[in-house]
């Protein structure tokens, strides 16, 4: 939905709906008139358009449900329940007005081991691998989505082509873990490791190293020391490439990418970051081919946030079982109450000291 469409849709809604939509988004929304309210909501939509849209759709749907039994009273009916209860202190708040908060049982539902099923790569994984045939790829996905699968498959394909693969990670410990992991997958003769204090199997087709070591290799190559491994280099995988923003070491990632030989493909794996498009655009501007960005924000295994009180009571953190994206204030009333209680008792504020 474009901003214009959204504006038109907002203008069609009665002001009560707008107020409900503005709750938690616009400060002191009850002060604003309809036109100003729309303006403020549109301003807010620049931060989270999707969240605003989906909420608006739910509100519209809800309204339609409400208005069907009493079509004539539709004008006055939705006004009444909205503002009154919100003013109550959180302590007395029963499950909050419109949407009932999720119960602990519902929150815990689904806990357990899924039935074993054959591994099918996610669409984004296939997409990244397919794109890697032609160009550099930037992957930005949440932690635990299966970036390693992409790395392994990409490495396998490049090695089948008789090309050298270099895999770098920011931490020595991670390099060691990956060395063990990849040795199990590809066989120990195919995998080598080069870190500041460890060098094993340095001529293997799949080399694991810290990014600093790769940078040094590239510098040596640039100043005329020929390294056979770089001639046959087909793929460079930079894991955890959000480290490019590390204050001390980020520069190493930039140097590595700038000096990466153009015949080698680059695969940048990173956790969710705000501006992966910038990274992709940057690569496009300095590499021979236009790079491809693969991003998604949906977790493979859904995440349920909870709140555990020091007395051992467990409650959902938010009103919904899943994370309500863009709504940090949709706290579960019980969690809110318990945390409030906790703060009252532990904070060295005037009242508790007495």
């Amino acid at each position: 939905m474009t901003i214009d469409e959204l504006e038109r849709l907002l203008a069609q809604q009665p002001v009560a709906v707008l107020h409900r939509l503005a709750r938690g988004r616009v400060h002191r929304h009850f002060r604003a008139g309809k036109r100003r309210l729309i303006e403020l909501l549109l301003q807010h939509s620049s931060q989270n358009l999707a969240g605003l849209e989906s909420d608006l759709q739910t509100l519209i749907a809800e309204r339609q449900v409400q208005s069907t039994p009493l079509p004539s009273g539709a004008r006055s009916a939705p006004h009444t329940p909205v503002p009154a209860q919100k003013r109550l202190p959180p302590r007395g708040a029963e499950p909050d007005n419109s949407e009932a908060a999720v119960s602990l049982t519902a929150w815990l539902e689904g806990l357990g081991v899924p039935p074993p099923q054959p591994f099918v790569p996610d669409p984004w994984q296939s997409e990244a691998l397919a794109a890697l045939d032609d160009t550099d790829v930037v992957v930005s996905v949440p932690t635990g989505s299966g970036k390693t699968y992409v790395a392994v498959e990409a490495a396998r394909r490049a090695m089948e082509d008789n090309r050298t693969v270099i895999y770098t990670s920011p931490l020595k410990a991670l390099s060691n873990t990956k060395f063990t992991e990849f040795s199990k997958i590809f066989g120990s003769d195919k995998v080598g490791i080069l870190t500041g204090d460890r060098q094993e199997n340095g001529q293997a087709p799949l080399l694991i190293m810290t990014t600093e070591i790769l940078r040094n290799l590239l510098y040596d190559a640039a100043s005329g020391e020929i390294d056979v491994r770089l001639d046959t280099l087909g793929l460079v995988i930079l894991d955890e490439s959000q480290y490019i923003a590390d204050p001390e070491r980020g520069v190493v990632w930039e140097e590595t990418i700038i000096f990466c030989p153009s015949q080698a493909k680059l695969l940048l794996l990173s956790a969710s970051i705000g501006n992966p498009q910038d990274i992709a655009d940057w690569l496009t501007s300095i590499r021979p081919t236009a790079s491809r960005l693969v991003r998604h924000s949906k977790r493979t295994v859904p995440l349920r946030p909870g709140y555990l009180h020091p007395n051992g009571k467990l409650v959902p953190l938010f009103k919904t079982a899943a994370i309500p994206s863009g709504h940090p204030n949709h706290l579960h009333p019980e969690a809110k109450r318990l945390f409030h209680e906790y703060e009252e008792e532990t904070m060295p504020s005037g009242r508790s000291r007495r």
Binding site: D197, V251, E254, P302, L314
Partner: protein, 619 residues
């Protein structure tokens, strides 16, 4: 209520809800260790079957890494199935714990948030107890990206249908930071490009000086700077459009013209009304009508008691003591003569403007005055006749006052000059954004030229050729030390000690084992050199205790790992990391074998000596 949940209760609660295995992120290593201690007396032991599974898994790991066997946490791991995992542990221990976690043997691992990025194993549940993280020396709030990275460890693909991120409060937790972190969109990342000395040397080795500009332009830093520059350029374009109505008028650069005119107009001294009304004669005479002066008025004489200016018109006035003892106020203009006779007058600020004694004295003197008195010769300056149209005269250089577009200029100048100022500012910042990397590079080049690593034509000198191989932090200090032959004839132990103190950048306090005199004097020299280099490179901490620990490990080949750990209060993991990092620095020195054979030899001996005991066993 306790400030935070007790670890034993936490594990009980998690087990009860089937939320194990879990990773519990705590504030500090000490918190992790204390949590472990609290399990010593806990009775939440695992059923024997599971204990056996853990024991078997542990034995398999110990076969690979013997140092794990003596770890003090082993009994807790076996009995309860919980473990600590933080930077204070040896890598072998961390590998063992990660392996046990992967096999699903453990119920919980207590880790520090600082190392969240290094925790590379998932669990069903992640427990978050804090909203800030120790960075450098103080705590900062977790960013959205960090919260998501931490929470993202929850939920194992293929083993869990859902993952859980449980927040449990501890003192100083800010729930807002965490809820925002969970629901928000991760922050954008920014380039942290810095230009280091080895980078300059290596770039100049491979490319001529003229090409470097193009290479720097390929950096992400320049890409982002360009983005900002483009944004400014768009603003500049908009300004250009806004400036259109203010194009050339009668004069091309009418804004500057008007501004100069305006300035000149403002600076021109204001006409002073007083001066205009007063005759120059009066002004000159008024100076002499000071208290005590005898003046001749139209009728009789008097002695001036005070001089002042009248309130409204600012006319010069005097208070005069008359022969009959009265005090009268009269305009200075009514004074007919100013005599050359002054009496002492003790002034005061209230009527009668002098003290009673001096009033009487003056009164007496006034009656005693001779009839003829000499008048004061007063030079009266010649007044040049003011020109009739002073403004036009003083602004004669400007056409503005008579210009036809004067009203338009006067009206628009405020807006136009503001816009033009903005334009200039943007142009300047765009230039700075485009060229800043290059300037920083040039700065580094100048420093390297000064120290003789580069020739004035920016080619590598003999020293530069080998110095470019030192690609670590504090490279300038290390190369300068080598050039000063600080390590000439130094044995491997001394070299290691100094390298360790340069490599170590952690300010966690440590104990102070006895330091050898050789090392301490060498370290003194290094410190002096580092200080003199501080304008060009941040000096390292150069801690003596660190140097001593590393030296001891090399100097005494019979020293066991346990023995070394006993010498200092540093945690095992920290000592390990220190030695591993020193190893990296030494191997860089080892690459200088072509130019500095003695030093490289010493370094390789040190490398061989470091690798023993725990350091040999590990990947």
């Amino acid at each position: 209520m306790p400030p935070s949940i007790h670890p034993v209760d936490l594990i009980t609660a998690l087990r009860q809800k089937h939320l194990t295995p879990a990773i519990v992120f705590l504030t500090s290593r000490r918190a992790c260790d204390e949590a472990m201690e609290s399990f010593d007396v806990a009775d939440i032991v695992l059923p024997p079957a599971r204990q056996e599974v853990i024991a078997a898994a542990l034995d398999r790991v110990i076969a690979n890494y013997p140092s794990v066997a003596e770890h003090p946490l082993i009994p807790t791991v076996r009995r309860i199935g919980v473990a600590a995992h933080h930077a204070g542990h040896l890598p072998s221990w961390k590998i063992a714990i990660e392996e046990l976690m992967r096999q699903g043997c453990l119920d919980a691992v207590f880790a520090t948030t600082t190392l969240a990025a290094g925790v590379d194993f998932p669990a069903r549940t992640v427990v978050i107890t804090q909203s800030s993280i120790r960075k450098a020396r103080d705590f900062t709030d977790l960013t959205i990206g960090e919260v998501q990275q931490i929470a993202g460890r929850a939920g194992r693909r293929g083993k869990d249908q859902v993952g859980f991120a449980v927040i449990t409060p501890s003192p100083y937790i800010d729930l807002g930071v965490l809820t925002k972190g969970l629901t928000g969109h991760p922050e954008s990342i920014d380039s942290q490009f810095t230009i280091t000395y080895p980078m300059v040397l290596n770039l100049l080795k491979a490319h001529p000086h003229e090409q470097i500009h193009a290479i720097l332009a390929k950096s992400f830093a320049q890409f982002q700077l360009n983005q900002r520059a483009e944004l400014l350029e768009r603003k500049l374009d908009a300004l250009h459009v806004q400036m259109e109505p203010f194009g050339p008028r009668v004069c091309t650069d009418w804004i500057t013209q008007w501004q100069t005119f305006d300035q000149a107009r403002r600076q021109r001294p204001h006409r002073q009304q007083v001066k205009q009304q007063e005759s120059p004669e009066l002004t000159a005479r008024f100076h002499f009508m000071t208290p005590g002066r005898v003046v001749g008025l139209t009728r009789g004489r008097g002695i001036v008691l005070r001089q002042y200016r009248s309130k409204g018109q600012r006319n010069p006035m005097i208070s005069v003591l008359r022969p009959d003892g009265a005090v009268t106020e009269c305009p200075a203009a009514t004074v007919a003569e100013v005599f050359d006779r002054v009496f002492e007058c003790d002034e005061s600020s209230a009527f009668p403007w002098c003290s009673a004694a001096s009033f009487d004295e003056l009164h007496y003197q006034l009656t005693e005055l001779p009839t003829r008195l000499p008048t004061l010769p007063i030079l009266i300056p010649k007044v040049s006749e003011p020109l009739p149209d002073a403004i036009v005269q003083s602004l004669g250089d400007f056409p503005c006052p008579t210009c036809t577009s004067r009203p338009a200029c006067q009206k628009d100048v405020a807006v136009a000059s503001r816009l033009r100022q903005e334009q200039h500012r943007h142009i300047k910042s765009i230039q700075a954004l485009r060229a800043s990397l290059w300037h920083r590079f040039q700065e580094r080049v100048e420093v390297l030229q000064k120290f003789g690593y580069l020739t004035p034509s920016a080619h590598l000198t003999e020293d530069g050729e080998w110095a470019r191989l030192i690609r670590i932090d504090h490279s300038l200090l290390i190369t300068e030390l080598i050039r000063a032959e600080a390590f000439a004839g130094a044995d491997p132990a001394l070299l290691t000690g100094v390298m360790a103190s340069i490599a170590h950048d952690d300010d966690r306090p440590g104990a102070f084992p006895r330091i050898s005199t050789g090392l301490s004097s060498l370290l003194g020299q290094v410190r002096k050199l580092a200080e003199s280099l501080s304008p060009y490179e941040d000096p390292p901490l150069l801690r003596a205790d660190i140097a001593a620990v590393a030296e001891r490990w090399i100097a005494d080949p019979t020293l066991t790992w346990i023995g070394l750990c006993r010498l200092t209060t540093m945690a095992e993991g920290d000592i390990y990391r220190l030695l591993a990092r020193t190893l990296e620095f030494l191997s860089q020195i080892h690459t200088l074998h072509a130019t500095h054979p003695g030093l490289a030899d010493s370094a390789s001996k040190a490398i061989a000596l470091i690798r023993r005991g725990v350091l040999e066993e590990l990947p």
